[in-house]
Subunit: 162 residues, 3 copies
């Protein structure tokens, strides 16, 4: 099948919650394995999912430094939207996932990149929140704005806002 | 109009909040009454919406037993995402709905089933959370995974992630 | 391009959070500037976004009066879904937006109306919550129900539930 004939799935990852990140990657990788072309567009708290797990985030100005400290991000720091219970619920969920041989978010990101899924940080929110390109893990596509997302969505069979 | 020509609406019910459950069922039943074919795919906390209201949920292992105790679910136990106020806000919302002759979630589920709306629990999350098929109310279609949902979504005119 | 040939974007604004309101308006106004026809359908807490900022909301019955007091709404009263920190985080986000010349939600609404974006309050939830038409800012289209939204969504290239 020619590249331009592939059906497309586009997902906005707005949330930085562990459960929503999992939902997004389960759908994205399954779609890719079904032969769909997949783009994931990360914005607001969703940017945390694709930030590097190591080091601190360099940013300018006191407010952005503070924001990037309390909102550090990284796939290993994501928490459940419910029952986090100071990390207890989140830890329990991670163990239950492992028992079922469900990949972690970190593993899902690697698989997604290997499958050719495009991971795109939103330039608009990166600008506001002071998140520089080097905050993201290798493999992440360069930033793009709302117009890029809408262009992808217009060509998509399915578009989800998670 | 032949069955296969009907326009389709597919909804992912990720959230187990009362307000989002209502939004989902208002859209689903309205779409069905407009002649659309509707599938609702329940995942993560959304599974709570279609669990039986009675009895406890049998599951294996201490962690899953705990999770199914604190995350019991059932259409009558759903809470508002905002202003729950220890149940006061949720109770108030239910009374306001009754005053306006708006069905409860429980009634909406019965109507949805009567209208032929497919209610499908996500097998992936049921596996992780240890939710067995017998936890769901009668009429709920057998579990299916992300590939099933994507197959439905690809054939749909409108797909929503709630 | 003839009006009926324009590609359509339809957005359900369910949430009344500042961050989700911004995401919605960034997408809506960008789509309109790309020549798309845009409808935004406000329901549940999302109604708060398009309420007037001034005065109180007249409503009948003690419960609805209470609800409209604690859930006053107005574009200037929206809070972040995360890190609100008693208003500190929300204030910080507003300052960061201003520094980047990002419009406020209030300015976004005015721009959206000027661009011909339809802002439609959901009649079903207005009925339950006791929100009268005069609670909304001028320019907001008259209320419509779920069937109206579905009609728009069926004609849309992209539909999002935010």
């Amino acid at each position: 099948m020619a590249e331009e004939k592939k059906e497309k799935l586009t997902i906005v990852m707005f949330s930085g919650d562990l459960d929503k990140a999992l939902a997004g990657f389960i759908l994205a990788t399954t779609a890719a394995s079904m032969g769909m072309e997949v783009s994931m567009f990360f914005t607001f708290w969703g940017l945390n999912i694709i930030k590097k797990n190591e080091g601190s985030i360099p940013s300018k100005g006191l407010m952005r430094k503070m924001l990037n400290f309390i909102n550090r991000g990284g796939s290993k720091r994501l928490k459940l939207s419910k029952f986090n219970m100071l990390g207890l619920g989140t830890g329990m969920m991670k163990r239950l996932m492992k028992e079922q041989n469900m990949p972690s978010v970190d593993e899902f990101i690697k698989t997604a990149l290997e499958m050719g899924i495009k991971l795109v940080p939103c330039s608009n929110t990166c600008g506001i929140m002071g998140v520089p390109p080097e905050a993201f893990r290798p493999g992440v596509v360069s930033m793009a704005g709302a117009a890029f997302f809408l262009g992808e969505a217009r060509k998509s069979k399915v578009t989800l806002f998670i």
